[in-house]
C-alpha cells in the first residue's frame, strides 16, 4: 500500500478512540452530544501544553482524559439538572471550550517539534513494518496503535458489562424502567457523557502528538467524523453485541479514513472533505431506514422492540 493509505490506517486507529467515545453517547445513552468538537481540541491543547511544560506524555494524555471527563460532566449537569436540551447543552460547552482551549495554549497553535511524545516513543520502539508478499500492509506505529486501541476497547467492553455499565445502557434503552429499579438516570447520564468526552479528549491528545502540534481549530467537525465512524462501522461490521459493535466502530473509523484518502488520491479537493463526510453520514443514516421501510411492507411479522436503533 502506498504511504497515504498507510497513514490513513494509523489515523483511523487514533480517531477510533473518538468513535468509541461518540458511540457511548450516541448509541449507549441515546443522547446526541455536540461537546465533542470542544473536548477533542481540549485534549489536544491540554496534552500539548503539558508536554511542552516538561510533563511525561503519558501523564499529559491522562490529564487530557480527566479534563475531557470534566467537560462532558459539565454538559451532563447542564442537561440533567439544568434541564437544557441535550443538543444545546453540548453546543454551549463546545463554545465555552473554544475560549478555554485558547487560554490553555496561550496561542492558536502549539508545535511539539522537538518534544518527546507518545508518537516518538512509538517510533523509538523500532517495530518493523508488516510486509507480506512485498506489500507493506501495516506500519510499525500502526501495530502499536492497534494494541493500544484494542486494550481500550476491552476495557470499555468490560465496563459496559459491570453493574454500573448495565445501568448506563438501560438509561439509554428504557429510562422509565431503570428508574423503577432505583437508578438515578441523571447520574448515569452525567457519567456516560463524562467518559465519552474523556475518550474524545484522549483521541485529541493522541492526534496532537501524532501530527506534532495542537491547534485551536483541530476539533471542528469531529462529531460528524465520530458519527460517520459509528454508523459506517455498524452497517459494515454489525452490532449484534457490545463486543462486536465496539470493534465495528473502530473498523468504521479506519474505513472512513481509507475512503477519504482514496477520494483525495482520486483528485478530490481537500476543502470538499467536510461535505463528503456529511454525505456519508446522511447516506448511512437514511439508507437503513429506507431499506427497513421497504422490508416492513414485505414482511408479515416484525419483531417489536422498545427504542428503535437503525
Amino acid at each position: 500500500m502506498n504511504l497515504a493509505l498507510m497513514g490513513a490506517i494509523e489515523q483511523g486507529l487514533l480517531f477510533g478512540i473518538l468513535a468509541l467515545g461518540v458511540y457511548l453517547t450516541f448509541r449507549i445513552l441515546n443522547v446526541p452530544d455536540l461537546t465533542v468538537d470542544g473536548s477533542f481540541a481540549l485534549g489536544g491543547a491540554m496534552a500539548a501544553k503539558m508536554i511542552i511544560d516538561g510533563y511525561n506524555p503519558f501523564v499529559a494524555t491522562a490529564a487530557a482524559f480527566v479534563v475531557g471527563c470534566l467537560a462532558g460532566a459539565f454538559t451532563g449537569v447542564l442537561h440533567t439538572k439544568g434541564k437544557v436540551n441535550a443538543l444545546l447543552a453540548g453546543i454551549l460547552t463546545m463554545i465555552a471550550l473554544y475560549s478555554i482551549n485558547l487560554r490553555i495554549m496561550g496561542k492558536a497553535n502549539l508545535p511539539l517539534l522537538r518534544e518527546d511524545t507518545l508518537f516518538t516513543y512509538t517510533k523509538d520502539l523500532g517495530i518493523p513494518n508488516l510486509v507480506v508478499g512485498g506489500i507493506t500492509w501495516l506500519t510499525g506505529a500502526a501495530m502499536v496503535f492497534i494494541v493500544g486501541i484494542l486494550i481500550l476497547k476491552l476495557i470499555i467492553d468490560w465496563f459496559l458489562h459491570t453493574d454500573l455499565g448495565l445501568d448506563l445502557r438501560a438509561t439509554g434503552d428504557n429510562p422509565k424502567m431503570i428508574r423503577s429499579f432505583g437508578v438515578n438516570t441523571d447520574s448515569t447520564t452525567i457519567i456516560g457523557l463524562a467518559l465519552s468526552n474523556g475518550l474524545v479528549a484522549v483521541s485529541g491528545a493522541w492526534l496532537a502528538q501524532y501530527q506534532g502540534f495542537a491547534d485551536v481549530g483541530m476539533g471542528i467537525g469531529m462529531i460528524v467524523i465520530g458519527l460517520a465512524s459509528v454508523i459506517v462501522g455498524e452497517v459494515l461490521f454489525g452490532s449484534s453485541s457490545i463486543f462486536r459493535v465496539t470493534l465495528a466502530v473502530i473498523g468504521g473509523s479506519i474505513v472512513y479514513r481509507l475512503v477519504i484518502a482514496l477520494a483525495l488520491q482520486a483528485g478530490l479537493n481537500p476543502s470538499d472533505l467536510k461535505l463528503i463526510t456529511a454525505l456519508i453520514v446522511i447516506v448511512a443514516l437514511t439508507v437503513p431506514t429506507i431499506a427497513k421501510g421497504i422490508f416492513k411492507k414485505q414482511a408479515v411479522r416484525t419483531v417489536k422492540g422498545g427504542s428503535d436503533r437503525a
Binding site: A170, N174, G305
Partner: protein, 265 residues
C-alpha cells in the same frame, strides 16, 4: 405497611385544564394484603400508583412505607421498597439488553452499583431457577435480547423482575390490559402464584371486574379522585359483578355506572 393520608394531587392547577386527580385520599394497607383497584377511566388509579412509587409527588399529604416517610423521596430513592409492572409490556424491560442483563438490573434494585460484573455464573444459576417458574422456556434463552420476546413473555419477565427481590409493596397497573385474553390469563395466574409465594403486599389496578373480585383479599373502587368503596375480603367473596355495580350506584347516590371499558363476563 403502607399509609397514605390526606393526599391531594391537582394537574394544571389554576388553568382552564385544572384537574383534581386525587382528592384527600386516605388509605391504610396491612402487610400481606392483596388489594384490587377498579374505577372508571380518569378516576385517578394510575395517579395513586405514581404517588406511591414516587413517579409523581403529591401536592399535600403524606406517604409512609414500612414506617418510613417517603413523601418527598424521588422514584429512584424508594425503588428498593417497591416493585412495579406497567400496562405497556414494553415499559418494564430494556429491549436491547439480554434477559440475563435485565434480570441483573432487577437484582441490583436499591443496592449500591459497583464495577463488578453485572452477570456472573452464580447469578445465572439464580436467574434460571427463577425463570423456570414462568414456564416460558426463558431459562434457556438468557442471552436473548428482550426485544425479541412476545408481549406476554415480556410482561411475565417484568413481573418476575419486579418481584423476585421481594419488595415491600408490589404495584400492578392494568398489567394484563394490553394482552390478548389467553396471555392475560397466563399473567393473572403467574401474578397469583408469585404474590402467594413471596407473600407480597400488592396493589393491583384492573379494568376487569371479575379479576377484581376473584383476585386478592380487599377491593377498592376509585371515582373522581376518591376511594368510594372499600370492600373487605369476607364481603368480596360473596359479591358478583352486578353487586359491584349496585354498590357503586348506592355510593354515588343513584348515578348509573357508565363505563363500557369494564368487562362483565
Amino acid at each position: 405497611m403502607l399509609n397514605i393520608s390526606g393526599v391531594n394531587k391537582v394537574f394544571n392547577a389554576g388553568t382552564v385544564n385544572e384537574k383534581i386527580a386525587l382528592n384527600n385520599v386516605r388509605l391504610q394497607v396491612k402487610s400481606g394484603e392483596f388489594i384490587t383497584v377498579i374505577g372508571s377511566n380518569g378516576a385517578g388509579k394510575s395517579t395513586l400508583m405514581n404517588i406511591i412509587s414516587g413517579g409523581m409527588l403529591p401536592d399535600s399529604g403524606t406517604v409512609t412505607i414500612d414506617g418510613k416517610n417517603v413523601t418527598r423521596l424521588g422514584e429512584h430513592q424508594r425503588a428498593n421498597l417497591i416493585g412495579r409492572v406497567f400496562q405497556d409490556p414494553m415499559a418494564g424491560t430494556a429491549p436491547n439488553m439480554t434477559i440475563e442483563e435485565n434480570l441483573a438490573i432487577a437484582l441490583a434494585r436499591g443496592k449500591k452499583r459497583t464495577l463488578g460484573f453485572g452477570v456472573n455464573n452464580q447469578k445465572r444459576e439464580l436467574f434460571r431457577e427463577q425463570l423456570k417458574l414462568l414456564d416460558q422456556g426463558l431459562e434457556n434463552r438468557l442471552k436473548t435480547k428482550v426485544g425479541f420476546l412476545s408481549g406476554g413473555q415480556r410482561q411475565a419477565l417484568s413481573l418476575l423482575m419486579a418481584t423476585f427481590t421481594e419488595p415491600k409493596i408490589l404495584l400492578l397497573d392494568e398489567h394484563t390490559a394490553a394482552l390478548d385474553p389467553k396471555r392475560a390469563q397466563l399473567i393473572v395466574d403467574l401474578t397469583e402464584k408469585i404474590v402467594e409465594r413471596h407473600k407480597l403486599t400488592t396493589i393491583m389496578v384492573t379494568h376487569n371486574m371479575d379479576q377484581a373480585l376473584n383476585m386478592g383479599n380487599r377491593l377498592l373502587m376509585l371515582h373522581d379522585g376518591g376511594i368510594i368503596l372499600d370492600i373487605p375480603d369476607e364481603k368480596k367473596r360473596t359479591m358478583k359483578a352486578q353487586d359491584l355495580l349496585k354498590a357503586f350506584e348506592a355510593a354515588r347516590g343513584g348515578e348509573a355506572f357508565s363505563e363500557d371499558r369494564f368487562l362483565l363476563t
